[in-house]
Symmetry: C2
Subunit: 341 residues, 2 copies
C-alpha cells in the first residue's frame, strides 16, 4: 500500500518491550512517514532510551497527555495499560492500534489483518485491534483457502515461541538453558506454568473453567470475527515450545468443495503475505527458525488426509512481526491508504 508523504506523529506504548522494539524496526524498514516519534512506557522504563532512525529517543511515561497531537498510538504493552489509555488516545483524536487482547472482541472495534479484512478499518471509532499472534497466520491461511472453497472447520495444534510471553518469556528460556549447560539447578518457572527449556508446555496463558486455555478460546473467537464467519468451527490445542521467535501450527482443514493438495498450494501461493515452501521431494518445509525476522507467513506440508477430503498444512509466522508489529504498522498504512488519517 502506498502511503502519502505527510509526516505523522507516532507514539509507541511499550517501546522497550519485545514487540515495541520490533515495531520501531518495522517502522524504519517500511519507511513509515514518522515526523515525530514518542516512545512511551510504564514508570519502570521511564528515563531509558530507544533507538529510532539512528537517534536515541528518551522514553517517557505513558500517560494521557502524551497523546496530544498524535496521529497513531501503537499499544505494544500490557492489557491493563491498553484498557486505561487507548480510550484516552482516541479521545484526543489519535487512532489507537492495540496489540493486547483488551479490545479485540468489542463490537465497535475492528479486528484487522489487512490482507484478510483491511476494509474493516473503515468502521473504527478510535481503536483498531491487532489479533493474537497465533490467530493472524491462521486467519491468513484460512482466508487463502476460502477464496477457492468454503472453509468449514480447522483443527489446530500450535507450537508457540516463548517471545509470545514477551521479554520475560525469552529470559526464562535463556536462563533455564544456560543453567543446564552450566550444570546448575534449573531456575523455577515464572513466565510459564512448567519448565520450558528442553520441554513443551501444553498451556498458553491460563485455564478457563471449560478446560481450555484463554489462548485457545481467543483463537476461536478472533478467527471467526476476522473471517466474519460465526459458524466457522475452530478447535485447538495451544502449546509453548522452547523456541525464541516464531509460532508454528499443524492445521487440518475441512472445506466444502474438496480441494486437491495442488489447488490448496496454488491458493496459498497466490495469497498476499503468504510464501509457500513445500517441496518434500527436496526436503523443504517451513520452520520457525526460518521465519524469524520475516514478515511473511510460511506454509508447507500441504497434503490430503488419507481417509477424507480434508487437508493438512503446516504454517509458521514470526509472532513479533506479522503476529504483532508488522500487522500493526500495516493497519496504520491501511488507514492512511484509505484517507482515514
Amino acid at each position: 500500500m502506498s502511503v502519502d508523504e505527510r509526516g505523522r506523529t507516532v507514539a509507541v506504548v511499550g517501546a522497550t518491550g519485545a514487540v515495541g522494539e520490533v515495531l520501531l524496526r518495522v517502522l524504519e524498514e517500511r519507511s513509515f512517514p514518522v515526523s515525530e516519534l514518542r516512545a512511551l512506557a510504564s514508570a519502570r522504563s521511564e528515563g531509558s532510551t530507544v533507538r529510532f532512525r539512528g537517534q536515541d529517543v528518551p522514553v517517557r511515561l505513558a500517560e494521557p497527555d502524551a497523546f496530544d497531537g498524535v496521529d497513531f498510538v501503537f499499544f505494544a504493552a500490557t492489557g491493563s495499560l491498553s484498557k486505561e489509555l487507548a480510550p484516552e488516545a482516541a479521545r484526543r483524536g489519535a487512532v489507537a492500534i492495540d496489540k493486547s487482547s483488551t479490545w479485540r472482541m468489542e463490537a465497535d472495534v475492528p479486528l484487522v489483518v489487512p490482507e484478510v479484512n483491511g476494509a474493516a478499518v473503515e468502521k473504527h471509532r478510535g481503536i483498531v485491534s491487532c489479533p493474537n499472534c497465533t490467530t493472524t497466520p491462521l486467519a491468513m491461511t484460512l482466508e487463502a483457502l476460502r477464496r477457492v472453497a468454503e472453509v468449514r472447520e480447522a483443527i489446530v495444534t500450535t507450537f508457540q515461541a516463548v517471545s509470545g510471553a514477551g521479554l520475560p518469556g525469552l529470559e526464562e528460556l535463556e536462563n533455564q538453558q544456560r543453567a543446564r549447560q552450566a550444570g546448575e539447578p534449573r531456575p523455577e518457572p515464572r513466565a510459564f506454568a512448567a519448565p520450558i527449556a528442553d520441554n513443551v508446555v501444553p498451556l498458553c496463558e491460563t485455564f478457563l473453567d471449560n478446560g481450555y486455555s484463554t489462548e485457545e478460546i481467543k483463537l476461536l473467537h478472533e478467527t471467526r470475527k476476522i473471517l466474519d464467519d460465526p459458524e466457522l468451527r475452530v478447535t485447538m490445542t495451544c502449546t509453548r515450545v522452547p523456541v525464541p521467535v516464531g509460532h508454528a501450527a499443524s492445521v487440518l482443514v475441512e472445506t466444502g468443495r474438496p480441494l486437491s493438495a495442488e489447488e490448496a498450494r496454488e491458493a496459498f501461493a497466490a495469497f498476499p503475505g503468504i510464501e509457500l515452501i513445500d517441496e518434500p521431494e527436496r526436503g523443504r518445509f517451513p520452520t520457525q527458525d526460518m521465519v524469524a525476522g520475516r514478515d511473511e507467513v510460511l506454509v508447507g506440508r500441504v497434503r490430503r488426509d488419507l481417509s477424507s477430503s480434508r487437508l493438512w498444512f503446516w504454517e509458521c509466522g514470526d509472532n513479533l512481526r506479522k503476529g504483532a508489529a508488522t500487522n500493526a504498522v500495516q493497519i496504520a498504512e491501511e488507514l492512511i491508504g484509505r484517507g482515514l488519517r
Copy 2:
C-alpha cells in the same frame, strides 16, 4: 506380571545405543531373571564395555553365533542389523524382540503393547516386534477409550524428542545448543532435516511420495495392527522438538457413543500403564520433562471439543522407556508369564 525365577540367557543387540543403555537399566530395575547377559553391537563398539548389575560386561560383535543358547535377544539397533540377525536368532531357538521397524508389519510377527494386546505374543514364530515410540502411547490411550466406547478416528500432532533418533539426535541438539550459548556458529544439521536447537522440525525420518513422512505412516498402520482395527482412521502430523527425552502428542478423538470428559478421564485412569494428570484448576498437566525416566504414559488436558462430541487429550511417554526398552522387556515378561519361554 510375575515371572518365574529360572534364569534366562539374554542378549542385547545395540547395547551401547540410547535404547540399549536404557534397556539394561530396565532389566535391572524390574529384576528380570537374567542368568547371563550378552552385550552385542556392531563392529564400531566391539571391545567397549557396558555396566550391568554392578559388573562391566564386554561388548561383543553382533553375529549369528552369539545367539547360541540364548532365550531372548533384544534388538535395539538399526533396522538393517535386525533384518539380518533377527531370523538368525529365531533359527537358533531364541525369541527376538525387535525395536526396529523392520518386522512390524509382517503378518506372522506380532506387534505388541502388552497392556493392549499381550495375547498376541502367543502367535510368535521367533520374532516379536515392538511398536514405534510414538505408536505405543497412542495405542494405549485409544485402547483405554475403546474399553468404554467405539473409537472411530484419532487426529494426532506429535512433539517428538531428539532421542527418538538415538544418540546422534541427542548429540545434535546438545551441540547446537552449546554453540548458541557460546556465540559460535550452529553446527550443520545431520541427524535432522533442519536445525533442531531453538526450532521445531515438522519431519520425522523421510518423506514418501504422498507427502507424508515414513514416521507418520507407521503411526497409522501400527496403531491399526495393535488395535486389530483395519478401519480405524488415524491422521497425523509428526514433528521433532528440541527436547531430549519424551514424546508428546495432542490427540482429538471421535468415538461412537459420545463420552464426557469425566468418563474419558475415568477410562484413562483405570487403564494399566496410564497415569492421569489432569487438574487444570491447579494448573497440572503432563509434560515431557515430567515423563522422562518414567514407565507410565501420562495423560491430561482431557476436554470435549466445543462444537462436537469429540474429545481432546494430551499424552506424554518416555520414548526410550515405554516407547522402547520397557515395552520390550514387558514383551519378554509376557512370554515368560504365558509359559512360552
